[in-house]
């Protein structure tokens, strides 16, 4: 009898732990999901971590995990409803500009509306055009999305686009990686650019404490210097 009760207790405990909502991480252009999953598995204990590189993949699982907290970009969090921001990931270039960069000297800011522009897809198909319009006041003829940061250079170098949009902090690395002569054609208005922890109403508030205690190397994987 005692064994049965203990067994029931254990199974209830396990059920409770297993039922804990996972932490969803979606930082497009960041480290690959498997890398993030394995780095966070230990600090998060029984909570499952599910990392994504694309917003579309995150949105596919959101209905299944309505109580799951999300670590994502401030830009995407701005479009999330029913969540509140509990932590902001501090980093040096927390507010930044996005730049339209081109290797083609005939590309000018005046003519950008008729050009093909490449961008890292950090918001998903529907929201990216809204972001570009909001940040630059621009509706390009064609917007090509990529899911890996390095693919922006391939888009431009292989003439698949006339220009690309990059976050200002990424321009030095892009310049380092190419011998193309890059010119900044247009600057966006200042945009918040840092990871955040968004918790849904009635969600798991303990995640906040766990993230605050993450060691520095793990924080670096999330692109954060410290949480505020």
């Amino acid at each position: 009898m005692r064994t049965t009760l203990f067994g029931m207790f254990l199974s209830l405990l396990c059920e409770g732990l297993c039922a804990q909502a996972p932490l969803l991480i979606c930082l497009p252009g960041g480290k690959p999901p498997a890398y993030v999953d394995s780095a966070l598995a230990l600090p998060l204990g029984p909570r499952k971590v599910i990392a994504f590189v694309r917003v579309r993949d995150l949105e596919d699982v959101l209905p299944a995990y309505p109580k799951a907290s999300i670590v994502t970009t401030s830009a995407y969090a701005a479009y999330l409803s029913g969540y509140s921001i509990r932590l902001k990931g501090w980093k040096r270039d927390a507010q930044s500009k996005y730049l339209v960069v081109s290797a083609d000297s005939t590309v000018t800011s005046a003519g950008l509306a008729s050009r093909r522009i490449g961008i890292l897809d950090f918001l998903g198909r529907e929201k990216i055009p809204r972001f570009v319009e909001d940040a630059f006041g621009l509706k390009p003829a064609s917007l090509k999305r990529v899911n890996k940061r390095e693919d922006l250079l391939s888009l431009m170098g292989m003439d698949a686009v006339d220009a690309v949009i990059v976050e200002a902090g990424d321009l030095p690395e892009l310049q380092r990686e190419t011998r193309l002569r890059l010119c900044v054609v247009m600057e966006s208005k200042p945009i918040n650019h840092f990871p955040v922890l968004a918790i849904p109403i009635g969600g798991d508030e303990d995640v906040k404490q766990i993230l605050l205690k993450l060691p520095k190397p793990v924080l670096e994987i999330l692109g954060v210097e410290r949480w505020e």
């Binding site: 579309r56 390095e150 391939s154 170098g157």
Partner: protein
């Protein structure tokens, strides 16, 4: 009175029928359907998943296997019943089937078609109407800009062996790499003679080519995915002896050639099928949803999947930038 009632009931029935008909017409006009003609196989499924994932709920889709019995009749029937707005053609078999159906069905011929996962896609698709697509060849530009970024090495001379049917690709690669101040030095293996060298002649030619590469200052060699140049005989007698312990890095087209067991390739670059599907989805939307439908043409594959062998890097004294290791799909640790 009963006559009046039955008249109004009849009117109501007619109105309902008209409403249903109108709703049906509206629905069929609104339905955005795609039909993918694709053989079975994991890589095709991955590309199809990428495509569906990017298109989301905006499209409905069906697939058709080109290896089906009576494929021409079945496909023609399916197309007329399903009324897709576009056709996705994966692999040569799908393209060849589409050409046969197009010859007998003008409605099919008029449908926009998207060719994927087909080598020399533009050539193979010649004769198809309303065709766009993505080239399947893994672009040298993506491979070598990524390797240069990872290593931080400022290499400039890359050697490549090729057969004449790859000339178009080598020429195009050379043009794009030159923009990055990278010089692609090609050695055609079958351009002289009758064009069909024996295995021994190929191996001899590869070895002679290496001497020429040395003189030209080639710093690394790029292996193309060509069965005539990469097979058990050439691997055993040329590639492994030359690059398994030498000091010239080899860039390979398959992950297993950069594996721990192979101990051969420093870096492998091959198609990222899922991302290829995502790229194709964007092309579909662009062609089908422009105000004035346009034919998009063929574009290069943008995203590649990579494997980096750190043991080979160590042997070659190539330092790899640790901060960029996250970009590599598969890392082979020493």
């Amino acid at each position: 009175m009963s006559q009046l009632l039955s008249a109004s009931a009849a009117k109501a029935r007619w109105s309902l029928a008209i409403l249903i008909l109108a709703a049906g017409c509206y629905a069929s006009e609104k339905a955005k359907r795609l039909l993918a003609i694709m053989p079975s196989g994991e890589s095709f499924q991955q590309a199809w998943s990428g495509m569906k994932s990017d298109l989301g709920n905006d499209y409905e889709w069906k697939t058709f296997d080109p290896d089906t019995k009576n494929a021409e009749d079945s496909l023609a029937r399916l197309c007329s019943a399903y009324a897709p707005r576009g056709l996705v053609l994966m692999d040569n078999r799908a393209v060849s089937l589409a050409k046969r159906v197009q010859a007998r069905d003008s409605a099919f011929a008029a449908l926009p078609k998207f060719v994927l996962m087909t080598l020399k896609a533009e050539d193979v698709a010649k004769g198809l109407r309303n065709v766009s697509g993505i080239r399947f060849e893994v672009p040298a530009y993506a491979i070598f800009t990524q390797l240069r970024a990872l290593s931080g090495k400022d290499f400039t001379h890359i050697g490549v062996f090729y057969r004449r049917n790859f000339s178009f690709f080598v020429e195009d690669s050379r043009r794009l790499l030159s923009r990055e101040k990278l010089d692609l030095i090609g050695k055609c293996i079958d351009c002289d003679g009758d064009g069909s060298p024996s295995k021994d002649e190929i191996i001899k030619s590869l070895s002679k080519g290496m001497d020429a590469f040395k003189e030209a200052g080639v710093e690394l060699v790029w292996m193309l995915p060509d069965n005539a140049l990469v097979n058990p005989a050439t691997l055993g007698r040329f590639w492994v002896p030359r690059f398994g312990k030498g000091n010239v890095p080899l860039v390979v087209p398959l992950a297993n050639l950069a594996s721990k067991q192979a101990n051969l390739g420093l870096f492998a670059a091959y198609p990222d099928y899922f991302q290829l599907g995502v790229q194709a989805a964007q092309q579909v939307v662009h062609v089908l949803e422009e105000e004035v439908p346009a034919i998009h043409g063929f574009e290069p594959q943008i995203s590649v999947q990579t494997t980096l062998n750190l043991a080979v890097a160590e042997r070659l004294n190539w330092e790899i930038r640790k901060e960029l290791l996250g970009r590599v799909g598969e890392l082979i640790k020493p």
